[in-house]
Symmetry: C2
Subunit: 154 residues, 2 copies
């Protein structure tokens, strides 16, 4: 079914260009891809501040919560790159066209997100207390903001 739509053709093209696209990156409509990545980012946007509150001493340190939050960031980080399907800079989205023009730079942010969230998770699991989370948390936040600065409309 999908194979016969221009949108799916763009997906197939994207799969060839962006090596990191998982095989399950298939959306019936461009709006679905947009809503999918916004859903992922909403979850991330709810998760990171929970860790931030801990790191800033505004919430008690809780290792289990830190691990769960870091796991969520690691897992969701893998989900959304595939939802940046070509052509989905239009519609209800703040994604800038640069995402598709500067794929190497965009991919670099994805790789940095994967690496920084993995480090955060490792630090959370190691259980070195809240101080051990500060550096890795700051790195994840920096990666998020860096990508938003470069590839998201204000």
């Amino acid at each position: 079914m999908l194979k016969h739509t221009p949108f799916a053709a763009a997906l197939v093209l994207a799969a060839g260009v962006i090596a990191a696209v998982p095989a399950h990156a298939q959306f019936a409509k461009p709006e679905d891809a947009i809503r999918y990545r916004k859903s992922v980012m909403f979850i991330q946007g709810q998760t990171l501040p929970r860790l931030g509150a801990m790191v800033q001493g505004k919430a008690p340190y809780d290792q289990a919560q830190a691990v769960a939050s870091a796991e969520t960031l690691v897992f969701t980080g893998k989900l959304f790159p595939s939802a940046f399907v070509p052509g989905t800079d239009k519609g209800d989205t703040r994604a800038l066209p640069a995402i598709w023009k500067e794929q190497a730079a965009f991919k670099k942010h994805q790789d940095d997100l994967a690496a920084s969230t993995a480090k955060l998770l490792a630090a959370a699991k190691a259980g070195g207390g809240v101080d051990a989370l500060k550096g890795p948390f700051g790195e994840v936040a920096k990666v998020c903001n860096g990508c938003h600065d470069e590839f998201r409309k204000d």
Copy 2:
């Protein structure tokens, strides 16, 4: 901060009642909890049909895709129960008040979701081809529909 709001008080109460609530189940506003669970369910709603298309022979069998989809269902299944915070049957949601009145029944659906998605993932990883996915896929779909029938507005 959160501790002094009625919403957070409800959360604390909920944490005592529903044993499965993860520690990171904290939302600043009821709307955030609603949007969080809808985000999770949108991701699930994009993921399950991908497996469905495979199982129904409408898409080619792809073990890596099956595993990735099943992993997404397993992981996201753990995220959203905590977002059913007391009081969040109001607003932009189809959640029925019964969720909070019949907590044992609601919890049973959550447990069934965890068990059925775990079986689906195991089947996908075992690589027995598409036929081996049919039973586990049907079980997951049944659990989803069962909970929606009971606890979601039409």
